[in-house]
């Protein structure tokens, strides 16, 4: 046991050093992120300047950073920004919920049964390659409301990464874990909730992260359809009203929310991940 005590002390020291290194890495990473953001703003500002200085394009000067952020502030203050974001978030949430509810169980089945994997491989790859927006006319015919058609399009876009990642995660499970589980008296639901779910959580969430990205991209063009709410509608509406500052401000909102959603997913993946760094 004394050897283990020494091990413990060494481990503690190693961990504190690793922590220190991590803090250093994090501050350096934040520094570079700020530089990147500054470059983006500078490019945007220069672009706005060129547009504003050219009499042929001066009408579009609203795209520049200054009017954009002014308008954005106004939209946030009046609550308009929130009113147009909320329906979009609801649609994204509903679409993703469907995609997860279908993708994860189907992924487990495909990962588990070779026959299911082989039978589904061609049709799924075929369906996956169809742009979700190509389903638009069908969705409009098939669903009674525009809202549901949009949710369907988001779901169609989001289901594939979830399904394939889950299947991949399942196939990475050590077969001995099932043997150990059976040996310790695990019933099927124990296998599912105590062994399979934690084992694939990381991969399934990685799929969900990809799905969120795709869904968020599909959302805007999908909201060009019929509906009179949401970020996609707002973009179209701003263009029609020639309010280019509002259009650019909406683009900023879309970017910020997309970034936040991805960040949340990344945190969730880190939380669910059990593989330790070497």
């Amino acid at each position: 046991m004394s050897a283990e005590a020494i091990d413990g002390a060494a481990l503690a020291q190693f961990e504190s050093e690793a922590r220190a290194r991590k803090v250093g890495d994090a501050s350096r990473g934040a520094g570079f992120a700020l530089i990147g953001l500054a470059v983006l703003l500078a490019v945007w500002w220069v672009g706005g300047k060129i547009i504003a200085d050219n009499p042929a394009t001066a009408n579009f000067a609203g795209f520049a950073p200054a009017p954009t952020f002014e308008k954005l502030w106004e939209m946030l203050e009046s609550g308009f920004a929130w009113r147009m974001t909320w329906p979009s978030l609801m649609r994204i949430g509903a679409g993703l919920a469907w995609a997860i509810a279908i993708g994860v169980p189907l992924g487990i089945v495909i990962g588990r049964f070779r026959a299911a994997r082989e039978a589904s491989s061609v049709p799924f790859q075929f369906l996956r390659m169809i742009s979700p927006l190509a389903w638009m006319p069908i969705a409009v015919l098939a669903f009674p409301s525009w809202d549901r058609a949009i949710i369907f399009l988001i779901g169609v876009a989001a289901v594939w990464p979830i399904l394939f990642s889950t299947a991949h995660g399942f196939r990475r499970i050590d077969p001995a874990w099932f043997k150990v589980g059976r040996n310790l008296g695990a019933r099927p639901w124990h296998m599912l909730f105590t062994i399979i779910m934690p084992a694939i959580a990381q991969d399934a969430l990685a799929g969900i992260r990809l799905a969120v990205g795709v869904a968020w991209i599909v959302l805007v063009p999908a909201e060009f359809l019929g509906v009179t709410s949401g970020l996609g509608y707002s973009i179209n509406d701003a263009r029609d009203a020639l309010e280019y500052d509002r259009l650019a401000a909406t683009v900023v909102i879309i970017g910020v929310i997309g970034f936040s959603l991805d960040w949340i997913c990344e945190r969730a993946i880190r939380k669910a991940s059990w593989a330790r760094e070497e």
Binding site: D7, D174, N183, L184, A186, T194, W274
Partner: protein
């Protein structure tokens, strides 16, 4: 032979195992991995299945534990037919196969959780077992933070938590260094004898068989079958490799082992010399 059941009083004795007419053929394989294996193991006895790779000893262990159904024949545990795996006969493998997202306490309590035992009881039992395998205070640690030997101790505690009657060991310590391996061999034998369970060990390591088992069943390959049964009639105090009695037992078992694998006497002698070097190395490390 030390009659194992004498050693334990006050607890239920480990199970009696009867292996009758067991033959096994893997799917699509023409040759049998095992043919007509018959033997019995007494309650609380410690038996080693010894042989070179390919003699079917691991297959036999899987069949005995219910993880694999034999092509022919049957296994009875205290007279009851074994139809599948159950917490009554737990298996420890070469790798600990712990679930990497669990803490030590969650790992050890897993079988009890599956059995639907109340939380309080699981906690108490986990505590008791961690003391038994000398990992007190490790409850909250993630299993990946432990050394290989500690992980194997957690796997041992996890196996014993479910009150098994038989503990099957499938070369459980071969991935560990010599010193850790020797310590675990002695600990497992001591613990099995303390709590009163039957022990079945698959190994190709002669000193391991002598340290752990009351009896060695030597198996021969092509097709897998029982070649010889060698009693290892030693007091626990004599099981250390340095004792003359242990060395004599090792030589006896080695001879049978070489006979089973059909190797020449010279090779056997060379192997014995190898064992000796290994033994000296072990002594040197202490």
């Amino acid at each position: 032979m030390t009659v194992a059941s004498d050693r334990h009083r006050g607890r239920k004795p480990g199970a009696h195992i009867a292996v009758t007419g067991v033959s096994h053929r893997f799917r699509r394989n023409a040759t049998y991995a095992l043919t007509d294996v018959d033997f019995e193991i007494q309650p609380c006895e410690a038996v080693a299945l010894v042989g070179r790779s390919g003699c079917g000893k691991s297959t036999l262990l899987h069949i005995m534990s219910g993880l694999t159904a034999p092509t022919k024949g049957e296994i009875r545990l205290d007279g009851a037919l074994v139809k599948g795996p159950s917490p009554e006969c737990v298996v420890m493998f070469q790798q600990p196969h712990l679930f990497p997202w669990m803490t030590v306490a969650q790992s050890v309590g897993l079988g009890l959780k599956f059995a639907g035992r109340p939380k309080k009881e699981i906690e108490a039992r986990v505590h008791e077992l961690l003391a038994l395998v000398e990992l007190d205070g490790y409850e909250k640690r993630n299993v990946q933070e432990l050394s290989g030997g500690q992980q194997q101790r957690v796997a041992l505690a996890r196996s014993l938590a479910v009150h098994p009657e038989v503990l099957f060991l499938d070369e459980p310590f071969s991935a560990l260094d010599l010193v850790t391996r020797r310590a675990l061999q002695q600990d497992v034998r001591r613990i099995a004898s303390e709590i009163g369970i039957t022990l079945v060990i698959v190994t190709h390591d002669i000193p391991e068989a002598v340290t752990m088992a009351d009896r060695a069943i030597v198996m021969a390959p092509n097709p897998g079958r029982i070649f010889d049964i060698v009693p290892i009639d030693l007091d626990d105090a004599d099981r250390s490799e340095r004792s003359a009695a242990a060395q004599a037992a090792q030589e006896r078992l080695q001879k049978s082992f070489e006979g089973a694998s059909g190797r020449s006497v010279e090779l056997a002698a060379a192997r014995l010399a190898g064992v000796e070097t290994l033994r000296l190395a072990a002594a040197g490390q202490r």
